[in-house]
């Protein structure tokens, strides 16, 4: 933990991280992951730069063609170019992932901090509720919310976000409790600082630092959950090129067109793995034990 550094070296924030990045040799896996993330971010921001065809133009003469020079990843049953559809679907998939993570993190921050810092009569019930919610597996909790809200991109985002909230809330709570008991918080209290100042200057930044990596990790996981729900037919519906929807649409022709299932899945796996790698790396850096 870098608890003490903030007090001794006030400038240890961003500058410290950058200089450490320069000294530590960045592992190959991180470089590759960063490149993959960059690719998908460009695809999300400006799909026309990377795509070779339109995502929606049908071409019945070249339906279900395997991967080849003019259709890099093949075409679907009505001749739409799969590579371009994956590129155009990136924005939707990533936005749902990022949005779900934002929902989860906002909820988890409020719940986690309250559970750790509020007076007992507030904190105890929240703790209990978190304990109950953790008995629901993520997918089941998300399914419950999808059932309530009906299938759509927005409800997918909210459902996955709420489904993953309890886990993050528990982590933030544990982290905050650890920071709360540390010497510098006690010292700040003893110096007579009001609790708002102690919270903003000491508890919040130190409780959050190890969680930065978690956000990256969580985005990857959210993309996986959201695409999974779409794949079940409970998220974004097929005409959309969202990755889970692509998987669901390809299910019908799985015996004749393997590429329709393999490549959208590969995109999901790439996003999940690269975000996980980067998240873990940031987490290690923040905790100061990167090699």
């Amino acid at each position: 933990m870098t608890d003490v550094t903030t007090d001794i070296r006030p400038a240890a924030g961003r500058a410290g991280l950058v200089s450490r990045l320069a000294i530590v040799r960045v592992p190959v896996s991180i470089v590759l992951s960063a490149l993959a993330v960059l690719f998908f971010v460009i695809a999300a921001a400006a799909p026309s730069v990377l795509s070779t065809h339109s995502a929606f133009d049908t071409d019945l003469l070249s339906s279900l063609t395997p991967p080849a020079a003019d259709h890099w990843l093949g075409t679907d049953d009505i001749g739409r170019d799969l590579y371009s559809r994956i590129i155009w679907g990136t924005r939707g998939s990533l936005l749902i992932g990022v949005g779900a993570m934002a929902v989860a993190f906002a909820g988890a921050t409020v719940l986690g901090f309250t559970a750790a810092l509020a007076p007992k009569w507030v904190a105890q019930p929240i703790n209990r509720i978190l304990e109950i919610l953790l008995a629901f597996p993520t997918l089941l909790l998300a399914l419950l919310f999808v059932a309530l809200l009906g299938p759509s991109a927005t409800s997918l985002l909210i459902s996955v976000g709420l489904g993953t909230t309890p886990g993050y809330a528990r982590l933030i709570r544990a982290q905050t409790l650890k920071v709360k008991q540390s010497g510098y918080v006690e010292a700040a209290r003893a110096l007579g600082h009001p609790w708002q100042i102690v919270f903003i200057q000491h508890i919040a930044p130190n409780a959050f630092r190890p969680l930065v990596g978690l956000v990256a990790l969580g985005i990857g996981q959210s993309v996986v959950w959201a695409s999974g729900l779409s794949f079940l037919g409970l998220g974004v519906a097929p005409p959309s090129p969202e990755w889970g929807a692509l998987l669901e649409a390809g299910k019908a022709s799985i015996t004749v067109a393997w590429w329709l299932e393999i490549f959208p899945g590969l995109a999901i796996v790439l996003v999940a793995l690269s975000f996980t790698q980067i998240g873990q790396y940031i987490q290690d850096l923040a905790e100061g034990n990167a090699r």
């Binding site: 089941l140 309530l148 886990g167 794949f231 998987l247 899945g265 590969l266 996980t276």
Partner: protein, 337 residues
């Protein structure tokens, strides 16, 4: 899912309370654990009930529309018999008490869509799902234990290779592994049937699908404890007594390393059952998952709630049993609450 596994590690085990008699401590711990398990179950049921209540739209209307396949507004005359039959016209508190009171008898209500007892539907579908989840857990263990035994604590390169494999396995989405296996082994090589069923040949691919990420998680948790235990002084002393390297690993170190694996298995059982939702869809295999997906898309809330309650019931009970087993196995925990 990587996040969830770290929650398990984050749960603190407080120090033993030395003042009281050990038997009193054990009894207190057991009672507290049973009490909190019952509490969590009650909470899960209550949350599910609240979800049923806040459901948008009138339940009787939804029920009528589902059974008739229409989406129209209903007249009070049409709704009255339904409301009376299902007790929807009674105060919410009465319905709640009725719901809770029915649970110990296995009464989970009536499915809106299928017009049958939820308990019966679940009872019919539970066997293939249990077979799948159980064999996946077994297979994950069969893979993870020798894998860590051979790659953990053997120098940096082998260790890094081992843990990278585990990270990738743990990160793969179940539905994609399933699709991959289906395309290669069922469609390409024709070793296994493409159309789902519950025979042995139909169970192999779904089992492997579920087992792969789980083996990754298991391997990760066993490995970190394995590495830690390898540095313990008793390992050195066992080696000094003339015990072989393999012997120390298998007889001493592995025993310590299995404990987090067992904890993870308790967590995994709840998640395996929801993982079957995806895998059963990929392989078109009958089971609880298929029923649940169908129920969610049809807004058949009684059935959705039944599945959710069953899942949290299993999760809570299995974890309670594991907690109690630890008390027997690990004396250090007996005073801890």
């Amino acid at each position: 899912m990587a996040v969830d596994s770290s929650i398990i590690e984050a749960v603190p085990i407080s120090g033993a309370n030395a003042q009281r008699h050990p038997a009193v401590n054990i009894l207190r711990t057991v009672l507290l654990k049973v009490g909190s398990a019952i509490f969590v179950l009650w909470g899960a049921v209550t949350i599910t009930f609240i979800v049923l209540m806040v459901l948008p739209g009138d339940r009787a209307t939804i029920l009528l529309n589902i059974t008739s396949g229409q989406t129209i507004a209903r007249t009070p005359e049409e709704l009255a018999p339904i409301n009376a039959l299902y007790g929807f016209d009674q105060p919410i508190l009465t319905q709640y008490i009725h719901y809770i009171a029915g649970l110990p008898h296995g009464d989970l209500g009536t499915s809106f869509e299928l017009q049958r007892s939820v308990a019966n539907i679940i009872g019919e579908q539970i066997a293939p799902t249990f077979t799948l989840a159980g064999s996946a857990l077994l297979l994950a263990w069969i893979f993870a234990v020798p894998w860590t035994l051979f790659t953990a604590g053997r120098g940096r390169r082998i260790g890094a290779f081992g843990s990278a494999t585990e990270t990738i396995m743990a990160g793969l989405p179940q539905y994609w592994i399933g699709i991959l296996l289906l395309i290669v082994f069922a469609i390409g090589l024709r070793w296994f049937p493409v159309i789902g069923g519950t025979s042995f040949m139909n169970t192999v691919l779904p089992t492997v699908t579920l087992a792969v990420p789980l083996a990754g998680f298991l391997g990760q948790s066993i490995r970190s404890e394995f590495d830690r235990t390898m540095r313990e002084p008793f390992v050195l002393s066992a080696r000094a007594r003339g015990m072989s390297g393999v012997g120390v690993r298998a007889r001493h170190v592995l025993r310590h390393a299995l404990i987090p694996g067992i904890t993870l298995s308790g967590w995994a059982i709840g998640h395996l059952l929801s993982g079957t939702v995806l895998v059963e869809t990929v392989f078109a295999r009958p089971g609880l998952g298929a029923i649940l997906v169908n129920a969610v898309s049809n807004k058949d809330f009684a059935l959705v709630s039944g599945c959710v309650i069953l899942n949290s019931f299993l999760y809570v009970v299995i974890n309670l049993v594991l907690d109690l087993i630890y008390l027997v196995v690990d004396p250090r925990l007996r005073g801890a609450v």
